[in-house]
């Protein structure tokens, strides 16, 4: 039986202060790209009690995604926006989810993401990552970006870290491991990077709500 909204809310870890729970529940976060990074970021934010997620991707779930993305066999062929919505509903049925199925471009990025105080950049290709970061930093003065950059292979995962690079740009990753030339993506380092991005989002939510970290 599906738990009630009240039961789900009561299950939030009561050891955290109430203000933190409220800040997370009223937070609105956008995730741009629902691959290995974005699918896991969304799952972690849903588990953390984030109240509203905006999920953006143009692609469908393929068998080659299963090595590192949050999807399963039952999602094959579905648009990632739809598959991830179904997955998140299994975790947090009362989460507000908005989706947009399409290609993000320099022309539409500001309109899509400008209303979000926090955007996770979770694209795959470097030119798309750079395009989104440049466009949002130039055109969306109220948006903070948490970007994933460098998580390929199976090298030392301790090289993946979070850095505040600009006032409104945090970058998680090792900054160097690129896909191609014998280097692919594997679940552990991708999930480490996604976890860092999701954690940085929680820190930003707390900071934006004026809650100090201990």
């Amino acid at each position: 039986m599906r738990p009630t909204r009240e039961e789900m809310e009561a299950a939030f870890d009561a050891r955290f202060p109430k203000e933190f729970h409220q800040a997370v529940a009223s937070a609105r976060v956008a995730v741009a790209g629902l691959g290995g990074l974005g699918s896991h970021i969304a799952v972690m934010l849903a588990r953390s009690g984030v109240g509203h997620l905006f999920l953006v991707d143009f692609d469908r779930v393929e068998i080659t995604n299963l090595n590192r993305q949050a999807y399963g066999i039952s999602h094959l062929g579905q648009p990632k926006t739809q598959a991830l919505t179904a997955l998140l509903r299994e975790i947090q049925p009362y989460l507000e989810i908005q989706t947009w199925n399409g290609m993000v471009t320099e022309e539409n990025a500001a309109e899509l993401f400008g209303g979000y105080p926090i955007v996770c950049e979770a694209f795959d290709r470097p030119e798309n990552k750079a395009m989104l970061v440049n466009t949002l930093l130039c055109q969306c003065p109220d948006t903070v970006i948490v970007s994933g950059n460098g998580m390929a292979g199976y090298g030392d995962a301790n090289e993946i870290h979070t850095r505040k690079i600009m006032d409104r740009l945090y970058v998680c990753g090792d900054g160097k491991t690129d896909v191609g030339r014998g280097m692919g993506l594997m679940a552990p380092r991708v999930a480490v990077c996604a976890g860092m991005q999701a954690n940085q989002v929680l820190r930003l939510i707390a900071a934006q709500a004026g809650i100090k970290e201990d």
Binding site: D124, A130, V133, N134, L137, I165, V171, V179
Partner: protein, 64 residues
């Protein structure tokens, strides 16, 4: 001297585009901040680096 990603570089007088090319960056893969302001990509060819500037260049790699 210009501080670029924390290092002192003799790049004063060059445009952002010139520096990026010399240093081997692809403009399509980077974001550039100069003195805490994002440099719009359309202006890379015009913005001149000056003595004392503090520049951050993020180079994006593939994977996600």
């Amino acid at each position: 001297m210009v501080t670029i990603n924390g290092e002192q570089v003799n790049a004063a007088g060059k445009t952002v585009a010139e520096y990026l090319e010399e240093a081997g960056y692809k403009t399509a893969y980077v974001a550039v901040e100069r003195n805490r302001e994002i440099v719009p990509r359309a202006t890379y060819g015009e913005v001149l680096l000056e003595d004392g500037d503090v520049v951050e260049i993020v180079r994006f790699v593939g994977g996600g």
